[in-house]
Amino acid sequence: MFIPNTKEDREAMLAKIGAKDIKELLAQIPAKFLYPALDLPKALTEAELTAHVHALAAKNKPLKNFIGAGMYEHFIPAAVPALSSRGEFLTAYTPYQAEASQGTLQTIYEFQSCMCALLNMDVATASHYDGATAMTEAALAAHRVTGRSEILISSLLHPHYKEVLATYTRHMGITLKEVTVTAEDVLDIGTLKAQLTDKTACFILQTPNFHGYLEDAQAISAAVHAVGALLVAVVNPISLGVVQTPGEYDADFAVCEGQPLGNPMSFGGPGLGIMTAKKAYVRQLPGRMVGIAKDKEGKRAFVLTLQAREQHIRREKAASNICSNEALCALNAVIYLTLLGPKGLKEVAELNLERAHQLAEKISRVKGFSIQNKMPFFNEFVVTCPVSAFDVIKVLEKRGIAAGYDLGGKQLLVCATELRTEEDLQAYADALGGI
């Protein structure tokens, strides 16, 4: 059972305290509020609970997944959950007592190092809630750094990310402006330049963008920097096995949703907010960071550092209120990248490229379906359907397929990762052929 103390234990403890019963210890709570009626269901035994929760899980229908849109189904090597679910990691708290938390601290240091390597950036934090909040916090840091109050975003930023940004900035005297993309679903430099001014704190660039297409990040970065604004890049971590990195196009902050790195989708959470930046902005970053220190014998040790930025020291003057983050998801990510190494990462990225392009090819051969956009993409792209995307999704669900994300009208956002086999791709095309 959950409570180990026996009746005898409790009596001995009450005697030591000098209370006649437990109720005496509750005298602080006004009697009229104590012991309210609670209409809760009957308690389940572990066996009953297991059966009940299995039955709920079974109500979710397993579909062959072709949806991306910010959360991606990738292969998770068995070693990832086997290691991260060890109780020594799982049931530890935030590593406040560094000497007794070197394991967690070193994994965070290695996570920060792997994120810097992956994104080609100078510094990384220990993690944020998810990609959307990491992006928002980066934009707020850009606002503080520049002292400017206009944040420019692409119209093809993930819709949930837009909403989160709006939520966080609404009461901060910040204006959000959208740069509309071209008919080809990518940004036009001229249009962007026309909206960049000396009031722009930052431009938030998502690449691949919400429709899956890769942007001309180099040119965008130059345009943003030309007005003294900062570039916040939102990227797909797996794509960086092959695609140019935020560091290569001189991003000031680069963030991503780290779920694809060894974490299950779990209906959207927990995610893993990855936040990286140029070194110059390290003291503007919100949240925890681990650094190398020395113990008193000069031995290398790991500690939480630069804590003067954080809420428990600065209170209302802190950069952010973040406290708990997504440490265990970050652990999954660092184990995943350690298993893959640079070669595995490139392999999985190339396989994503290939499967998505093969799927696009197969779909474009189905009568009535077309890929109108010829811009480069990574693992997802937009399909124009002969009927509404809504109807396509309904029909394919009956064939055991999650067809994609409904962009409205006849536009369907479709994704294929390395997990989709050639047979899966064919089954998808065949199912479309039946419409």
């Binding site: 409570i3 709920l56 397993p62 020594e88 180099q218 779990s266 209120n321 983050n325 190494g341």
Partner: protein
């Protein structure tokens, strides 16, 4: 120890050509699909290890950690209670883990039903009218709650309310949260008894007050006996009462916050509801609201009609989304499991035993480590060491020495109003034998403070590293391998 067995970074053990996992080879290369300008120029500096090397590396790291599964973890305000193994297994069932957030609702009815059920259970134990499961952590819940209050005021003529009142005992997240919501923070001092100073509160309250944020029980482990009166004072000026529910483990089953006038509160599924802390997350911080405030909670919320569960995001008064997708569902599953395993009677017993254990430790250590507020506490007690000015031994030294005795340290130097604070929260899942062992270790440390203070000041002695010079890390920050 031989060089190879030392605690290397993964990158220091890397050898070109070693592989941990192989994927099927693609037929073509990236350059066949993408223009050269869009390609990555240099490979990332990631370690190259075999799978077995990786397993051994992280297993060894895990062993350099104190964890709840292995050690008593009396970390005040963190509620380090047992995390049942069944929930570990159930939270990652393939049906849940592989659900895509944008899958058709008909394909994720199991997840939605579970989320709906948890919303309903949380309503019952708090008495509040609605819950959102979206916030990813406690602090995220606070921000959700304060933005909900702001949306409420904006819609009800309260645009001129610009202040949030926070007692000096509050978690640092409270004032930081209010600031993030665009409010001005008004700090008020506590009364000498550790509770809210009603006169100070009265003086601070005005038509400018938007919210009063209270932690109940508070961070010195005391229940506010005048909570209803405080709520009435807050409501009398048109403000809302926010309850930080991080310490709800002391109240679950014993009292419903709605009964004493709470308008909005957050709960921590990773504290009260037995989800593990994971070394610092992921957590889950559901936010509940009373009826008049409920429409302003962020969207989406799960609703239930005609046997179908739906995510409702068409809620015009809502203050909008707090994160992408819907919340930390894997943690939500654990919270649901917890509430299904215990009925009302058992929840009450859980809170009672959390309170019993804290008071037992407090009384056992009396005379050596006195409670700053020497009276019956709730689920945690805030102790103080013998006068450091006389002994030269500080709370930080005692914390490090406890590690040598095989115990994690209490929360230290918090709350700020207690000098040299040692905040002890044993939780209900520790047995008397463990509490006695902890008390005995504290007594031995007390004796060491008198007889051999240097032993305490030099602690820890048996950890993987000796006392760390934390300042050395901040001077020239090394935050990554090069």
């Amino acid at each position: 120890m031989q060089e190879i067995l030392k605690n290397k970074l993964s990158i220091e053990s890397s050898r070109p050509g070693r592989r941990g996992i192989r994927f099927a080879a693609a037929d073509k290369h990236a350059a066949d699909y993408l223009p050269a300008t869009l390609l990555r120029k240099t490979a990332p500096n990631l370690p190259e290890l075999a799978e077995f090397d990786t397993v051994r590396h992280f297993t060894k790291l895990s062993q350099q950690n104190y964890s709840l599964d292995a050690e008593f973890y009396p970390l005040g305000s963190c509620t380090m209670k047992y995390n049942p193994k069944a929930y570990d297994v159930l939270s990652v069932l393939p049906g849940f883990a592989s659900a895509h957030p944008f899958a058709p609702e008909s394909a994720v009815q199991g997840t939605l039903e579970l989320a709906y059920n948890l919303q309903e259970l949380l309503k019952k134990i708090t008495g509040l009218a609605a819950f959102t499961l979206q916030p990813a952590a406690g602090a995220h819940g606070e921000l959700t709650g304060i933005l909900t209050a702001r949306a409420y005021h904006d819609a009800n003529g309260g645009q001129n309310r610009t202040e949030v009142i926070v007692p000096d005992t509050a978690h640092g997240t409270n004032p930081a949260t209010a600031n993030m919501a665009g409010y001005h923070v008004v700090n008020i001092k506590s009364a000498p008894n550790g509770c809210v100073d009603k006169a100070a509160l009265k003086a601070a309250l005005s038509e400018k007050t938007a919210v009063v944020m209270l932690t109940v029980p508070n961070t010195v482990g005391l229940f506010e006996p005048d909570i209803k009166e405080i709520a009435d004072m807050v409501h009398a000026v048109g403000a809302l009462l926010y309850m930080d529910g991080a310490n709800f483990n002391a109240l679950i089953g014993l009292a419903k916050p709605a009964d004493f006038g709470v308008d909005i509160m957050h709960l921590n599924l990773h504290k009260t509801f037995a989800a593990p802390h994971g070394g610092g997350g992921p957590g889950s911080g559901p936010v509940g609201a009373a009826k008049h405030v409920a429409p302003y909670l962020p969207h989406p919320i799960v609703s239930h009609k005609d046997g179908q569960y739906t995510l409702v995001d068409n809620r015009p008064e809502s203050h909008n989304r707090m994160k992408a997708f819907y919340g930390n569902m894997a943690v939500v599953i654990r919270g649901y499991c917890y509430l299904r395993q215990f009925d009302a009677q058992t929840l009450k017993t859980i809170a009672e035993n959390a309170i019993l254990n804290a008071n037992y430790v407090r009384v056992c250590l009396k005379g050596k480590f006195n409670a700053f507020f020497d009276r019956t506490c709730m689920h945690e007690c805030v102790l103080t060491p013998p006068d450091p000015h006389t002994t030269g031994v500080h709370t930080s030294d005692i914390a490090k020495r406890l590690l040598d005795y095989g115990f994690y340290a209490p929360t230290i130097y918090f709350p700020l109003i207690v000098p040299e604070a040692l905040m002890v929260e044993p939780t209900e899942t520790e047995n008397k034998d463990m509490l006695d062992a902890f008390v005995s270790a504290m007594e031995q440390i007390y004796n060491e403070i008198q007889s051999e203070p240097q032993t305490v000041k030099d602690a820890p002695h048996n950890q993987p590293v000796k006392r760390i010079d934390e300042v050395s890390a901040a001077r020239n920050p090394n935050l990554r391998w090069q």
